[in-house]
């Protein structure tokens, strides 16, 4: 039974016991790739934005996507939950498998895809008409969850995972937009986590935040990788180096190099990658 077609809520992703990883940070067990992508190309009208991308993004790891502006990294991210389809006139080729299922098969409902592959945007965008609580729970409520105890539990859990609970627990009824910029972004992360997706896509989530708020979100990403697959697009190479396990370098719509983050930043195989990560271009 293909999960993407059914309208049921996604299965609970159980937290695997963390085996002793290579670093000091605990890592979840290796479940194989979350996304298995082969020869994936994407066009906006006549303009090609992605060219033959072949990449396997591991489950329950943080994968960073770096590259200069216009290299297609945001487009690639949006293709992972079919958000690019909002732009009229897009066309794709190649295969994109999500835990073995073809994400672009005709029977697949993009709404269900997005329930399993959540997204956090560059600019925080809490819904202005809703309180903090309503913002977090909107994904569940609008998908028909009514059980009050369950919602209450999910509210606290999501806000705790987003490291926001202690700051907002006494005024959950205040408008979401009354929070500071960094808090709003964490509220958006809590909102995305509340529907318990398997994957969280982050499109430059810290680019509008100060260093303190950025540090909080990076710490949060480290926590999230125990339960979720995280794919993060970033302009900030230190950020990619600090918080990702794997790094992909995109340039002009092509995947130039993809490897363990440490190797990308210390001994990259491709001279272009080396030039970019050392700050000589881009």
């Amino acid at each position: 039974m293909p999960n993407l077609v059914s309208n049921s809520t996604p299965p609970e992703t159980a937290t695997a016991p963390a085996p002793p990883g290579p670093g000091s940070v605990p890592v979840a067990a290796d479940d194989g790739p979350a996304f298995d992508i082969e020869g994936f190309s994407l066009w906006y009208g006549p303009r090609q934005a992605l060219d033959g991308i072949t990449i396997r993004i591991p489950a329950r790891r943080v994968t960073a996507i770096i590259g200069p502006s216009g290299c297609g990294k945001s487009t690639f991210l949006r293709a992972l939950n079919r958000m690019h389809e909002l732009t009229p006139g897009t066309r794709i080729a190649g295969s994109l498998r999500f835990f073995g299922e073809d994400l672009y098969a005709p029977a697949v409902d993009p709404v269900v895809v997005r329930r399993r592959v959540g997204m956090v945007f560059q600019k925080s965008n809490p819904f202005p008409t809703m309180s903090i609580e309503e913002n977090v729970l909107v994904g569940l409520r609008l998908n028909g969850v009514r059980d009050r105890a369950f919602l209450q539990g999910r509210l606290e859990e999501s806000l705790r995972m987003a490291a926001l609970w202690d700051e907002v627990k006494d005024h959950l009824r205040r408008p979401g937009t009354s929070l500071s910029g960094g808090q709003q972004q964490r509220l958006c992360i809590a909102r995305a986590l509340a529907v318990q997706p398997e994957v969280l896509l982050m499109d430059e989530p810290c680019s509008a935040l100060d260093p303190l708020a950025t540090a909080k979100i990076e710490e949060l990403i480290q926590q999230l990788r125990l339960r979720f697959t995280v794919v993060i697009v970033t302009h900030n190479m230190q950020q990619a180096a600090r918080c990702s396990d794997r790094t992909a370098f995109f340039y002009l719509g092509k995947l130039v190099e993809y490897d363990d983050t440490r190797r990308i930043f210390t001994t990259p195989a491709n001279p272009q990658t080396e030039a970019y990560v050392s700050g000589r271009f881009g």
Binding site: N81, M83, L86, V111, V112, V113, R114, R115, R116, G118, M119, V120, F121, K123, N125, F127, P128, T129, V138, G139, L142, N143, P175, C188, R191, A192, V195, P197, L201
Partner: protein
Amino acid sequence: MELAAQLSPGGGRQHWRRGLSRGVAVLMGLSALIVMTPLFLVLYFLIRQGASSLDWNFFTQLPKPAGEPGGGMANAIVGTLELLGMAAAIGVPTGVMGGIYLAEYGSATANYWLRFAADVLNGVPSIVWGMVVYALLVVPFKTFSAYAGGAALGLMMVPLVMRTTEEVLVLVPQSYREAGLALGIARWKIITVIVVKTALKGIVTGVLIALARVAGETAPLLFTALGNNFWNHNLGEPIAALPLQIFAYAISPYDDWHRQAWAGALVLMLLILACNLTVRFFSRERR
């Protein structure tokens, strides 16, 4: 120093420029005054001529036959409210849904023609609306009716509400729609619960402006609602309306009726003013 020379006062060119600047400023001040004056003139005359005839009876009694003093426009006031209610029942859902279609669903070609149609309809003279509804609802049923009056006003509201709804929906940032989609929420739920709710103030404002606009219309009611000197007990029959009553009284030869027409105009004006003040209240930024 060239720059200093240019900045220093004196010299024919500088004088001329300053003169021109002052002249244009005065012209703009005058234009502003011309915009403001009619409003105050209208209010001034309505209050001076109408306030004296405004009493409790005006709001509670039916019109008296010609020559008999007293009487009121209770039926016309209620009639206008009933007509506006029916107009809203037709114009608001149709207009709002049309606006949602334009802003959220329509293809470029469909939207081009829809906007074109709505803009043309906005410019259709109101008496033409009356004639169209006369042909559609009065002739086949062989009677003037409140329904026909409400339909005429409601149809006039549709393009107005549609365009303002579209405008405020387009102003809702795309990022809210994206955030909703990324949560795996169905599109129609995002539109109704998130987008429309965010733009609700603007939509209500548009509806009230449209209501205020049609509240004073006389021409579309002439061949539809017709007017009535008594209470309307059946919406399938002719109904009184303030603009119609004002029109009938104003062209009558009786001084008493003229005074009542002024009072009616004042009440109608206050009704529209109330609408506009509510709009102000709704469009005001809170927080």
